[in-house]
């Protein structure tokens, strides 16, 4: 290594300079003293240079004896960072919910708490940075320390000694932080997963085909929905954190609105948390902005797409039933054939969610029918309906107090404990550097 050979020649230079001063014909005591001191410095730095690889191995050996490892330490740090980031994000989402629900009074309080979390996060990131630097550069720090240590006339001796000490103490000390923290750490309450859950799933029609942009509403023994969300293009919806806070175990009733029709899905209600499929037994989505509503008791067979439209058979079991066609205003239907006869269909239009929808009903009696619709479709757009989120305010206050306790313990375990530990490590490094660099002196002559 280039640095080490430079350090070696420097220590030789220091030694010979010392010998020169010692043997000089100047009868001044301080000059002679300096000569001896420099000879000693040259020898001690030569010892350090020769034991360079030994010092590196010593760190690993001490770690092995103490039962600590860097892998575990990095995992520990990453775990703590993840916890903090999760709670920070959770707090941000609660803030968003509170803002949306109008409970702005609690926002200030939450802002204060999330500031504390951000501070803890910055502290743990700092520890992470220091440990990454020590782990990756400790051999370079040690070599540089040795080089500075062996400069003549004690120019960089104390700095070099400090660097050598840091590279040893921090390398051994940092992986011991988890055990140090473990003694003092309070148990951390989990922030959001315990108390709150979500309802998510996919809305499908009678035959299991996903329905685009369904509006899923939640009721809780009320006339008006307590929450309402618009699902995705593939029928997926999610009500819960971060936008809504649904207490675990609470039962909500479902309702799905599709093309202006309110439909009770199966299952009709669910307890939080829940995930699954909401099936609309009275809806058959034919695709491209065309759907049918089935009023009555039906037996359905899978529809088949043809070149100019769609074809499906259905059996009416009840004595009377209505087959309602629902289409977007932009969908063009050329004809509807029921058993090859043109159905008598009068279109009524209405608007819902910012789109024009037309409907017509075909009355059927018991029997088996083959229905054929010839049409040119259009993309079904997302209805312009605002999401409504549910926040249990009485629970939020309780929740905030839990969060506050958690955050204070975060601050303690992630800011104060690591800082204390780093201070202890720095003090140990200082002590070791004093030992290497000047506190302890061997008289050679």
């Amino acid at each position: 290594m280039e640095l080490l050979s430079l350090a070696y020649t420097l220590s030789l230079l220091t030694y010979s300079l010392g010998a020169l001063l010692y043997g000089s014909p100047i009868p001044v005591k301080s000059v002679k003293k300096w000569g001896v001191l420099m000879m000693y410095d040259g020898l001690s730095s030569a010892v350090l240079i020769s034991t360079y690889s030994l010092l590196l191995k010593l760190g690993d050996y001490l770690l092995e004896v103490l039962g600590a490892s860097w892998t575990y330490f990095i995992t520990w740090l990453t775990g703590r960072t993840t916890t903090l980031v999760t709670s920070y994000l959770a707090m941000q989402s609660i803030a968003a919910v509170l803002k949306a629900s109008g409970a702005d009074v609690l926002l200030e309080f939450l802002k204060h708490i999330s500031n504390l979390v951000a501070t803890s996060l910055a502290a743990i990131k700092m520890v992470y940075l220091i440990s990454i630097v020590i782990y990756n550069l400790r051999d370079k720090i040690l070599a540089l320390g040795v080089l500075l240590y062996s400069t003549p006339l004690r120019i960089g001796k104390s700095v070099g000694a400090a660097m050598i000490a840091i590279s040893i103490v921090y390398y051994v000390g940092l992986p011991l932080m988890p055990s140090f923290a473990y003694i003092f750490e309070t148990s951390l309450p989990s922030v959001i997963t315990e108390k709150y859950g979500g309802l998510d799933g996919v809305v499908v029609d009678a035959l299991g085909k996903p329905i685009p942009y369904p509006v899923v509403r939640l009721y809780k023994n009320s006339v008006n929905p307590v929450a309402s969300v618009v699902g995705g293009k593939e029928g997926k919806f999610s009500i819960g954190p971060p936008h809504s806070l649904l207490p675990r175990g609470e039962v909500f009733e479902f309702e799905v609105v599709f093309m202006g029709y309110r439909v009770k899905p199966e299952p009709t209600s669910a307890a939080v948390p829940w995930s699954g499929e909401l099936r609309l037994y009275s809806v058959l989505y034919l695709g491209n902005g065309l759907a049918t509503m089935l009023v009555g008791i039906f037996e359905l067979f899978a529809p088949a797409s043809t070149l100019e439209g769609v074809e499906f058979s259905l059996g009416v079991i009840s004595s009377e039933a209505t087959l309602s066609f629902l289409k977007l205003g932009s969908v063009n239907i050329s004809e509807i054939l029921v058993d090859a006869k043109k159905a008598d269909c009068r279109w009524n239009s209405f608007s819902w969610g910012g789109m024009e929808i037309e409907e017509c009903g075909v009355r059927l009696t018991a029997g088996l029918y083959l229905v054929r619709v010839v049409y040119s479709g259009a993309d079904y757009p997302r209805p312009r309906i605002e999401d409504k989120h549910y926040v249990d305010v009485s629970d939020v206050i309780e929740y905030l107090s839990i969060v506050q306790t958690a955050v204070v313990s975060y601050l303690y375990s992630y800011l104060i404990l690591p800082s204390t530990y780093l201070i202890i490590l720095s003090a140990s490094s200082l002590a070791l550097s004093k030992f290497i660099g000047g506190g302890f002196r061997l008289r050679v002559v």
Binding site: E2, S5, L6, T9, L10, S11, L12, L13, Y15, S16, L17, A19, L20, Y22, G23, S24, P25, P27, K32, G35, M39, L43, A46, V47, S50, T51, S53, L54, K57, Y61, E64, V65, V445
Partner: protein, 87 residues
Amino acid sequence: MDLVELVRGATVVVMSVAWFTFLVTWAVGWALRGSPIPFRSMKRAGQSLIEDSILAAFWLAMGTTIFALISYVASSISLPMPPPPKP
């Protein structure tokens, strides 16, 4: 020029200067000691100059040997460590 080479050259120069100084000091020391000036302190200074110069010459001569010895000892103790003791 390479920094290591530069320092090595400087060391060689310093060493030869040190040998020269040793001779000078030794000569000055004997000159002071053997001078016909009847001052005890001057004789003592000459004596200490002789002693210092001989010690410095000794350490200068031993320098490379000591450095080699340090490297040898350090490399022989940096053999693989024994496994840690089991509690």
